[in-house]
Symmetry: D2
Subunit: 154 residues, 4 copies
């Protein structure tokens, strides 16, 4: 590893609370063996929907408001931050520095981001996004990237 890489690796590892990392890693391994990845993905999305419902976004009139309200929660919980960009037929969400890889490990990369998918789905639906609009993960969670892309679209 070069210097920059080891600094990022160190800071990313320490950024995940060691009170729960040992528990979450064991949880991830157990879920990986107990059910197909697709089912764990559905479970994580469900958990995200519930977590989103416990973190109401209020007084959001613009995309910028939504981003600010979301980031108040993410900053409080030390879950990184999100950047929202409006496109003609979609809303793009780029989430930086989520502690998912440190918590659940590389083995969980096919399902752990579904938690954030659920949170964003819940938030955007509660703000009036039609039922036909779905949040879907667009990029991998891997050690090379410090962000994950999601998209709200038909």
């Amino acid at each position: 590893m070069n210097k920059q890489t080891s600094v990022l690796a160190y800071l990313s590892a320490k950024n995940c609370s060691n009170q729960w990392a040992f528990f979450l890693q064991a949880l991830g391994k157990e879920l990986n063996e107990a059910m197909p990845a697709q089912d764990v993905r559905v479970l994580m999305r469900q958990i995200g929907l519930r977590a989103g419902a416990e973190m109401p976004l209020s007084d959001c009139n613009t995309v910028k408001d939504i981003q600010a309200a979301a980031n108040r929660y993410w900053s409080e919980f030390n879950w990184g931050w999100v950047e929202l960009t409006e496109q003609s037929s979609s809303l793009e969400l780029r989430h930086f520095c989520a502690p998912l890889l440190q918590a659940f490990g590389a083995q969980a990369q096919s399902w752990s981001p579904a938690f954030l998918e659920g949170v964003y789905q819940q938030w955007l639906s509660s703000l009036g996004a039609g039922q036909a609009l779905q949040v879907r993960q667009q990029s991998e969670l891997d050690p090379e990237h410090s962000f994950i892309d999601f998209r709200l679209s038909l």
Copy 2:
């Protein structure tokens, strides 16, 4: 609440990492609705068995050694501490200050301690406890108590 009670409530709440409490509360609610408490209990015990296997106890010749080795992990992870007492036909384990109630909520008290049951089962089996010896929870996890009792016996 009297003063002592509110101090304990404050310190106990802050003692659970807020990076994961919001996630674990949503996880607990989802599991509560998705399956019977007995199945969640089995899942938590499985997770505990896995976590215990990742935290090997080495060089333990006495009950006191086991207690010290266990508490090195619990202190590092801020999971409280355990006190072990040998009885004629059992080993008693009293675990103080686990962050389970803060993490999973009162709704999860019937199953969340099974995680510790699994960890202790794995540790004691790996140190030579016969297959017939089982770790079982002996007391409730509730806000009145800051400890949970477990017992290794036939």
Copy 3:
């Protein structure tokens, strides 16, 4: 120690960030040797005045508002909480669960609470308390107590 006492001792100790406890203990020892306790006390009060100025209290019309605004900072920083009570000729402030004893040690109890004295002085002056009104510590910081009393009066 009985059970309750060891639980409180454990939670209080863990409640002070171990990233800085080793630094602050050494700082406290150095200050204790380098200057008289009264001078360290003045230094701590100065630091508190500065810290208070960096944490403005806004929109406070009542004592209850002040308490709520103060506790938003204390909760964010995990510095316990304060309870304010208006008396005929004074304002009483009782601060619970400050991490001062864990950080600076028992040797510093004659001066470490002056930091909070400074913060409260700054806050109450900025909200309009006359220059003649001073915040003064009223009770000891010791392991038997989980709070410190301050008073704003002539």
Copy 4:
């Protein structure tokens, strides 16, 4: 800021405990105004000497042993890590990810690294470095760098 830079800035900021950052920033400002930078530097070095004495390094026969023993403390306290390199007439120490800049601010860069200078001085003297050998800071603490260089030499 580009993406990499903002990720590093975020992780570095969150890596300093927010329980003490507000206190340490006020402490730094007060010291900056109360005495010349050179005197604060001496104070910080003294604090480092004391902190080092509280963290004994044992069983170190090689430079690699020293590095490992030092990093057990730094990892436990989340103070980054150090890399030691032996040269013909010096020992080079490169300390990564110390939370000094986040704690004391850019205004303190002329004196805050003296704390680490003191710790390393104490450690290396206790391991037998002659009194003539001094640890001295060799590089700046600035946002562009995630490490500080020290050297033990005549």
